[in-house]
């Protein structure tokens, strides 16, 4: 219920931003722009979804950006340079990112190193590896790999339309990355809210020891969460590299972990853990992306891009906290019995 309220709140925020920007420049709602915003929301949303699962455990994943760079670089390198088959490459990349998540999880649960430290080291290490393996050289897919590129370039249903699709379909087809995000979101929503794993995750996020005493394999649950985060980052890395068709090992994905976390925070997921809300994450990411877009369209100085983003996050979260406090006060008033209230009034 509190969740519902929050979702409503951020949906309104999103709507407000959209409306204002549309008033400033109606082209904000043009098919072209909507498509772009959806595409970016899709790509960044995938990272946020993964991050969310780690955040629910009360942990944090700072390695996302570096994993994006590493998987992106390696994918292009293997397929385009080394001529490794697409299937094998994808398989290897999946394996690699899962392995990274596993390593994070093991270090955090078994060696008891704090998540912040483990994934911070990940942030340093993985980009270094990526840069080293390809000698800092930009990787790309060239003109080939069209099938694979459809993962990001194609649109639904346009691309799959029998014959030439009508104007409307062409304009308003949904970019594949966003479709992918939606599908993943639905799956994760079920996992989080309906599955046993989800219950265990939420319980553990709120009180790890109690969860263990209730016979939950807390370590396993945590490790899986980090594997989800890492593999989603990996998927993101692949899609980003395909979208741009080039990867710069030293530059791509930088700070993306922060965007991912920001998406979750704006989406109302507390970094304290024990709270999860997939819809919130999607809307949160959308807000962040729309904000960028709006700033550019509204012609606000690019230098302020980040400043505005920061401001909005901060205000959003603060308002959230303040609302909570007010709600608490209100509940106090309600739970006081009438005579007491009336005594207060007279006093």
């Amino acid at each position: 219920m509190g969740n519902m309220k929050r979702i409503a709140g951020i949906s309104i925020l999103l709507l407000v931003i959209v409306t204002i920007t549309a008033i400033i420049d109606i082209r904000f709602l043009s098919p072209f722009n909507v498509r772009n915003v959806l595409r970016w929301t899709g790509l960044f949303g995938i990272l946020s979804l993964g991050a969310a699962f780690v955040i629910v455990t009360g942990g944090i994943d700072l390695s996302i950006g570096s994993v994006v760079a590493m998987i992106g670089t390696f994918s292009a390198y293997l397929m385009a340079r080394q001529g490794v088959s697409v299937a094998l490459t994808l398989f290897l990349m999946l394996l690699l990112s899962l392995a990274l998540g596993l390593a994070h999880g093991l270090l955090i649960t078994k060696v008891r190193v704090q998540p912040f430290v483990v994934t911070l080291c990940g942030l340093f290490i993985y980009r270094g590896m990526a840069r080293f393996v390809v000698g800092d050289m930009t990787q790309g897919y060239g003109t080939g790999f069209l099938g694979l590129k459809n993962l990001v370039k194609s649109r639904f249903p346009q691309t799959f339309w029998p014959g030439t699709p009508p104007e409307f379909i062409v304009n308003w087809s949904i970019p594949m990355p966003f479709m992918i995000l939606l599908i993943l979101a639905i799956i994760l929503a079920i996992v989080l809210n309906k599955s046993v794993y989800g219950r265990h995750l939420l319980a553990l996020g709120a009180n790890e020891r109690a969860a263990r005493y209730s016979g939950i394999h807390t370590h396993r649950v945590i490790i899986i969460a980090y594997m989800i985060s890492a593999s989603f980052a990996g998927l993101g890395g692949l899609l980003f590299s395909l979208d741009l068709n080039t990867v710069q090992p030293s530059a791509s994905g930088q700070m993306y972990e922060l965007y991912a976390i920001a998406g979750c925070v704006v989406g109302g997921i507390s970094l304290r853990g024990g709270e999860g809300n997939i819809t919130g994450v999607i809307i949160g990411t959308a807000i962040v992306r729309v904000l960028y877009n709006s700033i550019n369209i509204a012609g606000i100085a690019t230098q302020l891009e980040f400043a505005v983003l920061g401001m909005v996050i901060l205000i959003g979260v603060s308002v959230d906290e303040i609302v909570k406090m007010i709600a608490e006060k209100r509940r106090i008033m309600e739970s006081a019995d009438p005579e007491a209230l009336q005594r207060k009034a007279t006093a």
């Binding site: 079920i190 309906k194 599955s195 046993v196 794993y197 989800g198 219950r199 265990h200 939420l202 319980a203 709120a206 009180n207 020891r209 109690a210 969860a211 263990r212 005493y213 209730s214 016979g215 939950i216 394999h217 024990g274 608490e328 509940r331 106090i332 008033m333 739970s335 006081a336 019995d337 007491a340 005594r343 207060k344 006093a347």
Partner: protein, 539 residues
């Protein structure tokens, strides 16, 4: 909960009258004015009115006991007096001066010290640092800069701490880190801290819940000493025996309201319980179920990991209630935790119904039907931020309440509501957050979680710690019922009264091992203490 409140309101009026009368009498025979006079105190928390129009008076050198069920509002009232919580309304006078306390250091200035119900120490600091935390001894002169540069005077504070520790009977160096102390010792540090304030009012909120017999005696001596020096004491406990022993006067709360006061000569367990509960309840009946000779739980050559002592061997039969007695720090919790797979034992084998079970993790124990009700509800027993349903069914999702890894929500709610009915948990709704339940009801939720898993062996670590007589009664009845259902129970208890009254057999532990066993005909406080303090170590 609300309907219950109506019921009690219905039953209180006449007692209220007696009480105010008693209140008057007490006040008149105290010549010198009140140290504390609180009138019409009310406190509201989200979802609960913790206190409603409560009056409390305290005279110089008086020991006032405050008793009441869980959630009656005792701690809240004390927190208000100690400036931890802010009263919603009401008037507080200290030495006749009306004051708004509102903050801890204000309370300290007024000379009011509170020993909290739960430990509040900083494990990373030394005993001395903790004792004087917030009131550090300052280095007298820092080259004229002492006004600005406020440095801690280690020597003085440790010297003074040493005296205080002697007073409360804790033989430990003042520079010992608190994290190296047992819970019992930590409690004594809390008391020393309260004494260090030289307050004119010292409030003890359930100080004995983790203290052993001797330590408790020590505390009473301290209280006596305070009293003789004209210090007033407020004493909260669920151990009504103690109350009778120390109190000059008893104030009884129920559901946040004062239901009566008893002057020294009126204090009897029955009278207190009557006012607490609004009715008489029968005395502890010694449990009278029959024990089968079938061994449910057998432990062979078991060595407790955190406190490795001589190997432990013991059997618990179906329908038997075996009580593990001992002083705090005896390692009983560690024993239970190791049995349950929280820590790995150094050595030892566990048999349930004759079959050996390998317990590497609680899940193994749970699957074998051996369940632990942990010592610390809030930390280990419950996910207090989650609702009642999920807490009761948490352990069941994996094997019982799910298909293909998807939770069967309907079935879960059915199980939960059944448990809530069976245990008569007092709540507004199943979706209520556990945090907002009172101690007793929280404990019932923990029990409910395990009953829904139909246990074979139940390990109960301090199952009645900090819960009131009524809740206790219900827990005992429940244990009785489980015994009849042939469940084997291993109960850890530090409350002598409880140990002697509920046990079919008493096993005493000391220094991580078993030092002896007592059969009903050998039951006596002396015997238990003797075994509990009998060291097995040579050299």
């Amino acid at each position: 909960m609300s309907d219950q409140r109506i019921a009690t309101d219905g039953s209180t009026p006449q007692t209220k009258d007696e009480e105010s009368a008693a209140g008057e009498r007490v006040q008149t025979d105290v010549s010198n004015g009140f140290v504390i006079e609180a009138r019409g105190i009310s406190k509201v928390f989200p979802g609960v009115q913790a206190l409603r129009d409560v009056d409390l008076t305290l005279s110089r050198g008086e020991v006032l006991a405050v008793v009441g069920e869980n959630g009656a509002g005792k701690s809240t009232l004390m927190k208000i007096l100690a400036g931890v919580e802010m009263e919603s309304e009401g008037v507080i006078k200290v030495d006749g001066q009306q004051v708004r306390i509102g903050s801890v250091d204000k309370a300290l200035d007024l000379g009011i010290a509170l020993v909290h119900q739960e430990l509040n120490l900083c494990p990373n600091l030394s005993i001395a640092d903790n004792v004087f935390l917030g009131r550090e001894k300052l280095v007298k002169s820092v080259g004229g800069l002492e006004k600005v540069v406020r440095l801690v005077d280690k020597e003085t504070s440790e010297a003074e701490t040493a005296d205080l520790l002697k007073k409360v009977g804790l033989e430990t160096r003042p520079d010992t880190l608190v994290r190296d102390l047992t819970i019992g010792s930590q409690q004594l540090v809390e008391i020393a801290k309260a004494l260090s304030i030289n307050a004119k009012v010292v409030i003890f909120d359930e100080p004995t819940s983790s203290l052993s017999g001797p330590e408790t005696e020590r505390l009473f001596a301290v209280i006596k000493d305070l009293k003789d020096h004209g210090v007033s004491v407020v004493y909260i406990s669920h151990r009504l025996g103690e109350v009778k022993h120390v109190a000059d006067r008893v104030l009884v709360l129920r559901d946040g309201e004062v239901t009566g006061q008893l002057s020294a000569e009126e204090i009897t367990k029955e009278a207190m319980i009557h006012l607490m509960v609004g009715r008489d309840i029968e005395k502890f009946y010694s449990i009278k179920h029959k024990i089968s000779d079938k061994v449910r739980l057998e432990v062979r050559d078991f060595i407790v990991p955190k406190q490795p002592g001589k190997p432990i061997n013991l059997k618990v039969h179906a329908g038997e209630i075996l009580v593990l007695a001992g002083l705090v720090g005896a390692g009983r919790t560690e024993f239970a935790q190791a049995l349950y797979g929280i820590d790995q034992p150094w050595a030892g084998r566990i048999f349930i119904d004759g079959r050996e079970v390998k317990v590497n993790d609680p899940i193994d124990a749970i699957r074998a039907g051996m369940l632990l009700v942990p010592e610390d509800r809030k930390l280990h027993g419950l996910v207090t931020e989650m609702d009642v349903v999920n807490n009761i069914t948490l352990a069941g999702f994996k094997d019982r309440l799910s298909k293909y890894g998807i939770v069967d929500a309907r079935q879960a709610r059915e199980v939960a509501s059944r448990m809530i009915k069976e245990l008569d948990v007092r709540l507004h709704s199943m979706d209520q957050i556990v945090q907002t339940l009172s101690g007793g009801n929280q404990q019932k939720v923990v029990l409910g979680k395990w009953l829904s898993m139909d246990p074979k062996v139940l390990l109960l670590d301090e199952p009645t710690r900090g819960i009131d007589v009524v809740a206790k009664e219900e827990v005992y009845k429940l244990m009785e019922r489980l015994a009849e259902e042939k469940v084997a129970m291993l109960v850890i208890s530090s409350e002598m009264q409880e140990v002697l009254s509920i046990a079919d057999r008493i096993v005493v532990m000391c220094e991580g091992t078993v030092t002896g066993e007592l059969l009903p005909d050998q039951y006596s406080e002396e015997n238990v203490i003797k075994l509990a303090t009998e060291t097995t170590r040579h050299g």
